[in-house]
Amino acid sequence: MPSPRPHITVEDLTIGWGTRVLMEHVTFQVEHGMVFTILGGSGCGKSTLLRYLIGLEQPRAGNIYIEGVGEPHTYEGVPRFGVLFQSGALFSSLTLAENLALPLARWTPVRGSTARELIQAKLDLVGLGAFANHLPGEISGGMKKRAGIARALMLEADLLFFDEPSAGLDPISAAELDQLILTLSRDLSITIVVVTHELPSIFLVADQCIVLDKASKGIVAKGDPRKLRDESKVAFVHDFFTRSATATSAH
C-alpha cells in the first residue's frame, strides 16, 4: 500500500525572536485530507508555529513545504491555503459579502452575478446565507468565525489553517464549528490544520496531532490524539489529555 501523500512537510524547523529560541528541530508531516491539530499549553508557541506555517514569519532554520514546494506558498501568485484567524479578522467596515468578495476581486477575473453566486454559496455552506449584507459588528462571535471560514474558502484552496476556532464560543457554537470542520474535511476533501487546546474538539475532529511543550522547546508527542491519551508515557501529554495538573504544574 503506497504511503499517503504529504500535504505539508515541516523539516527541522527552528523559530524564535532575537536571542530567544522558541522551538527547535520541529519536524512533522500533514497528509492530504486529514484534520491535523497542533496542541499544547498556553504560551507554548502553537499560534506562533502557525504564523510560520502560513508564511507570516521567516524561520531561523529548517523548511516548510506545501505540496512539496517551499516558500513562497503561492500558485501563480495566489495563496495555496486559506486562514481563519482567532477573531475571524473580518474587515469591520465591509459587509460579509464584501469581505468574501475581496480575495475574488484580488486574484480572479470573476465579477458580477457569478461572483455573487459563489459568495452566496460559501455563506450558505457555513450557514450564513441570510447574513450576506450584515456588517461583522452585527453578528455573533461564532458567526464571525464561520464567515472567516467562508472567506478562507473563497479561492478554493484545499488547505485551511484555523487558529483556535472554538476559543470564546459557547458549547453549541463550538460544536457547530467542529461539525463544519468535519464537513469541510470529509465532503470537500480539504486538509485542515487546527491550533487548539479544546479537548472535546480535539477528540471529535482530529485525525492526527502534535503536542508542543514549552519546556522541551518542541514536539513531545505525535499521532492519533485518542491513542496518545490512552497510551502516552510522557507525563505532560498524559496530563494534557486527562486535564490533570501534576506535570503541568511543573511547567
Binding site: S92, T95, L118, D124, G129, A130
Partner: protein, 374 residues
C-alpha cells in the same frame, strides 16, 4: 479542453454533459456555459447532469452546476446528477445544493439624501444632550478626583505631558514662527509704502499675542494630540478595556479623561507662550531683513507694544481651549462602537470638532473682550 456543456435532448428528456475544467479559474466561461445550456432546456421535463467527462471541478464549479439544478427544479423540472464514475463530484454538488439559505437575505436600506438630512437633524438634540451630559460627568469627576486620588490614573500624567507638550513643541513652535513671519511680511508690504514700518512690531504683538498665538497653537494641538487621545481611547473602547475599567469599579471619565484634560491645560499655555516668543522672533527677522529698522529699535517697539491686556487676553483663553480639545477628543473616543473602522471615524470627528470648537471659543472671547473694551 475548453469549458462547455453539451445538451442531448430526446423530447422532454435532456442529458447535459459538462466538459473541461469547472473551477474558479474558469468560473466566468463556466457561468456562461451554464447560461447557454439553460436556454436550450426550455420545455424539458427531466434533466440528467452527467459529470463523467469533467476535467476537474472545485467548489466554484460545483456551485454553478448546483444552482443550475436548483433553478431547473424551481421551474418544475426533475433534475438529477448521474454519478457514474465520479461519485465525489456528485457529492460535492449535493453539498452545495443542501446548504441554501433558509431565511430571506436582509438588505441594508440605503437612505435618500433628504432622509439623511432629516436623520442628522433628528439626531442633533440627542447629540447636544450627550455632550452636555459628558461635560457634567467630567465636572463631577474633576471634583471627585481631588477627594479620591486613587480613582485617577495620575501615573500617566508625566507621559501625557511629555507626549502633548515636549513632543509637540517642535510643531507648535514652527507653526507660530511661520505665522509671525507671515504677519510681519504683511505689515512690511502694507505699512511700508505709507512710511509706517515702526507699527510692524506692534502689529505682530497685537495679532499674535491676542489672537493668532493661542489659536494656531490650539489648532495644531487639536490636530496632533486630539487625534492621538481620541484614537487611544477609541481603541481601548473597542478592545473592551473601558468595560474592564467599569467592571473593576473605575469611572473611565475620572481614570482617563481627567489626567488627559489636566495635561492639556498644563501644557497648552506653555506651548502658547513659547510660540508667542518665536512669532516675535519671526517678526524681528523679517522686519530687520527687509526694512531699515534695526533689531534694537524693533525690540524696543515690541516691548512698548506688549501690555498686560494683550498678554492676559491671549493667555486667559488657553485653558478653555485645552479643556475643549481634551473633552472632545476623549468624549469621541468613549463614544466609539464597533471595530477598527469606528476608531478611524471617531478620530476624524474628534479632530474636526476640536478644531472647529477652538475657532468658535476664540471668536467668543474676542467678541467678549471687544464688548468689555479690553
Amino acid at each position: 479542453m475548453s469549458v462547455a456543456i453539451r445538451a442531448d435532448r430526446k423530447g422532454e428528456y435532456a442529458r447535459i454533459i459538462p466538459t473541461g475544467p469547472f473551477d474558479l479559474a474558469h468560473a466566468t466561461p463556466a457561468a456562461q456555459a451554464v447560461k447557454n445550456v439553460e436556454a436550450l432546456l426550455t420545455g424539458c421535463g427531466s434533466v440528467d447532469l452527467d459529470v463523467a467527462q469533467l476535467d476537474r471541478i472545485d467548489g466554484a464549479g460545483a456551485v454553478l452546476l448546483a444552482r443550475l439544478l436548483d433553478r431547473l427544479e424551481t421551474g418544475g423540472r426533475r433534475a438529477t446528477v448521474v454519478e457514474g464514475s465520479n461519485p465525489e463530484v456528485a457529492r460535492l454538488i449535493a453539498r452545495y445544493r443542501e446548504r441554501r439559505a433558509e431565511l430571506p437575505v436582509a438588505h441594508t436600506g440605503v437612505m435618500s439624501p433628504l432622509a439623511r438630512i432629516g436623520a442628522v437633524a433628528a439626531d442633533l438634540p440627542g447629540k447636544v444632550n450627550k455632550a452636555l451630559d459628558f461635560i457634567g460627568r467630567f465636572a463631577v469627576a474633576l471634583a471627585k478626583a481631588t477627594a479620591t486620588p486613587n480613582s485617577v490614573d495620575w501615573r500617566s500624567l508625566p507621559r501625557l505631558i511629555q507626549e502633548i507638550g515636549a513632543d509637540g513643541l517642535v510643531v507648535t513652535s514652527a507653526a507660530n514662527l511661520l505665522i509671525g513671519i507671515i504677519v510681519a511680511f504683511l505689515g512690511v508690504s502694507q505699512l511700508g509704502p505709507l512710511g509706517a514700518i515702526s507699527y510692524v512690531p506692534g502689529l505682530v504683538v497685537v495679532a499674535h499675542l491676542r489672537e493668532l498665538g493661542p489659536l494656531v497653537t490650539a489648532m495644531v494641538v487639536a490636530g496632533r494630540s486630539g487625534a492621538g487621545l481620541a484614537s487611544e481611547i477609541a481603541t481601548m473602547k473597542v478592545s473592551e478595556e473601558i468595560d474592564a475599567l467599569r467592571s473593576m469599579g473605575f469611572d473611565p471619565v475620572r481614570w482617563l479623561v481627567v489626567p488627559r484634560c489636566l495635561a492639556l491645560v498644563g501644557t497648552l499655555p506653555l506651548l502658547t507662550w513659547i510660540g508667542d516668543l518665536l512669532a516675535l522672533v519671526g517678526g524681528l527677522v523679517v522686519t530687520t531683513a527687509f526694512t531699515r529698522m534695526t533689531a534694537r529699535a524693533y525690540l524696543q517697539a515690541t516691548a512698548e507694544a506688549i501690555t498686560p491686556n494683550h498678554l492676559i487676553t491671549g493667555l486667559v483663553k488657553t485653558p478653555f481651549l485645552a479643556f475643549a480639545i481634551g473633552l472632545i477628543a476623549c468624549g469621541q473616543g468613549l463614544l466609539t462602537e464597533g471595530g477598527a473602522a469606528a476608531v478611524g471615524s471617531r478620530t476624524t470627528s474628534a479632530v474636526v470638532l476640536a478644531i472647529f470648537s477652538v475657532i468658535v471659543i476664540s471668536a467668543v472671547f474676542t467678541f467678549f473682550f471687544a464688548l468689555m473694551g479690553i
